[in-house]
């Protein structure tokens, strides 16, 4: 194998050394239960509180507004279900979301729909930007919650959250944003961004899997999702994962410090996009400029994503695809379909998600490695045969 390039940071990231080093003492020495009265408990409580403080400081909110969870999925479930059930008492039984949300959001909304809520799923344009006019028409006095992601995990498009807040708040609805992909990649300041709730997840920013947080703005009241022993101010039961909470705080601080280095990542991303879209019959998925700094998602026609991934993997490159063949359901990515990307191109979509750890040499290697793979697969594709013979209607 010539080289190893991890280009799947949108799926998950390696835990950084600094994060591990901050976490280790919490596992070995400060192992107390933060609810315990004795010294070990007090010590753990102090560390947990300080982790909360550190996260709040980075995000521009108050520590009392941060709740630790088991990750992005739990935060998403809690925010949506907790708000929906609470608002139902006020006669608000309508939920608005988008067609390109993560399944943690989509399936929670589906479940609430089965339980009697009405759900409107807003469409997006060809770049994956939520249709604000459609949103304005959808939100009404019955709307409990507008749940729209900050940035999309597949195509990287960043959504107009401020405008979304204006629209929702004008009708008295709450706003929740899934910022799992955005946090650490985009400057988020909750002192000026008027969302009511925001979710984040550790493993997308070099902290471990299984830790996340939900921001709930002061004055916003939602129901509990997980009942238990009174932890997190009786809002989320379960003995706190102190070490991972510290890891999350450390990772967030690191990400914040490195925001100024993101233009370098963007430059590498743009080189990937520019070079790979030179391959015939390829097209960028997602917004050209208003996208996550590490996300390049490109659709190659006439080939299938899983085959592309297998070849990349053999060549030492880890990436992902929205192809039907690589999903358990054998359906192509709902995000690409919502954007109007034809099935054929969704099939050949490739997501490369890079990070601060990526080097220019890694980018060179991807740019060198991919075109022959595309060519090889096209040469054995009956669809490509038609193109070569000039019979393809779509080409």
């Amino acid at each position: 194998m010539a080289r190893f390039v991890y280009a799947d940071n949108a799926a998950t990231t390696p835990v950084s050394r600094e994060v591990i080093e901050e976490m280790l003492p919490c596992l070995e020495e400060c192992y107390g239960n933060p609810s315990s009265l004795h010294q070990k408990g007090r010590e753990a409580k102090e560390i947990l509180d300080s982790a909360r403080e550190r996260i709040a400081k980075v995000l521009g909110c108050d520590a009392s507004e941060i709740y630790f969870t088991s990750g992005g999925t739990e935060s998403d479930n809690w925010a949506i279900r907790g708000a929906a059930i609470k608002m139902k008492a006020k006669g608000r039984t309508h939920i608005v979301t988008s067609k390109i949300e993560h399944h943690a959001v989509l399936h929670t909304c589906d479940a609430l729909e089965r339980e009697g809520f009405t759900v409107t799923r807003i469409g997006v344009d060809a770049d994956g930007v939520v249709d604000l006019e459609e949103l304005s028409r959808a939100v009404n006095e019955k709307t409990a919650l507008v749940a729209i992601m900050y940035a999309n995990n597949e195509v990287g498009t960043i959504e107009p959250i401020r405008e979304i807040c204006d629209i929702a708040h004008s009708k008295g609805a709450l706003v929740f944003t899934d910022a799992v992909q955005a946090v650490g990649n985009v400057k988020i300041d909750l002192s000026t961004l008027p969302v009511d709730m925001l979710s984040l997840s550790g493993h997308k920013l070099h902290a471990p899997k299984g830790i996340g947080a939900l921001f709930v703005r002061k004055g916003v009241s939602i129901n509990n999702l997980i009942e238990g022993g009174g932890q997190e101010k009786r809002r989320r039961g379960g003995t706190e994962n102190v070490a991972f909470a510290v890891g999350l705080a450390a990772a967030l601080e690191m990400a914040e410090k490195r925001l100024c280095e993101l233009p370098r990542v963007e430059k590498m991303r743009d080189r990937l996009i520019d070079e790979l879209t030179k391959i015939p019959y390829s097209k960028l998925n997602g917004h050209r400029t208003n996208r996550l700094p590490g996300n390049a998602n490109i659709g190659f026609e006439f080939i299938e994503g899983e085959s592309m991934l297998l070849w990349l993997d053999i060549s030492g490159i880890c990436a992902s695809t929205g192809s039907a063949c690589s999903s358990a359901s054998l359906d192509p990515s709902h995000v690409l379909l919502a954007m109007g990307v034809p099935h054929e191109r969704a099939h050949g979509s490739l997501r490369l998600s890079i990070s601060h750890d990526t080097t220019d040499e890694d980018i060179d290697y991807i740019i060198e490695t991919l075109p022959p793979i595309v060519e090889k697969l096209r040469n054995m594709s009956p669809l490509w045969e038609e193109v070569v013979k000039g019979n393809n209607k779509n080409a």
């Binding site: 006439f302 080939i303 299938e304 899983e306 085959s307 297998l310 070849w311 053999i314 192809s323 039907a324 063949c325 690589s326 358990a328 054998l330 099935h343 054929e344 099939h347 040469n379 054995m380 594709s381 009956p382 669809l383 490509w384 045969e385």
Partner: protein
């Protein structure tokens, strides 16, 4: 999900990729929408023996590997023997497929049978077999 070594061998090193000019039977199966398209070409001599078989496939690793394996399994055999080829025989020859990928092997069986049907049509022989469909009709 993990593919067997055999699958990876046939995926990275597919046998009999290509087209046959003036093939005696051609079978195209699948659907670009739901995933896969497989195209099989058969060259058949006067004794009903498949002397050459080539394929082109648009699909996942399993689709490519099963096409490759299927061509190997029918080449040099009679049309009758080819018709007896089941997808489970292809899966077995590949040392197994992940459960979600078994439908790709059904496609290979279907492609061979469709190519034979095309041959029967060309030579005016009655089609006395059924073709199992890999995908439900939409």
């Amino acid at each position: 999900m993990k593919y067997s070594e055999k699958v990876m061998d046939h995926f990275t090193n597919p046998r009999n990729v290509g087209e046959i000019e003036n093939a005696d039977g051609v079978g195209v199966v699948g659907n670009a929408k739901c995933g896969d398209i497989m195209k099989m070409y058969l060259k058949i001599d006067e004794n009903d023996v498949i002397t050459d078989c080539k394929f082109k496939t648009f699909g996942c690793g399993a689709a490519i590997a099963t096409s490759s394996m299927a061509t190997e399994l029918v080449k040099g055999h009679t049309v009758k023997e080819a018709l007896a080829l089941t997808n489970s025989a292809v899966v077995e020859a590949l040392e197994g497929l992940p459960p979600v990928k078994v439908h790709c092997s059904v496609l290979a069986e279907e492609a061979i049978k469709t190519a034979v049907a095309d041959y029967y049509n060309k030579i005016g022989r009655e089609i006395d077999f059924e073709i199992e469909k890999a995908h439900d009709e939409e």
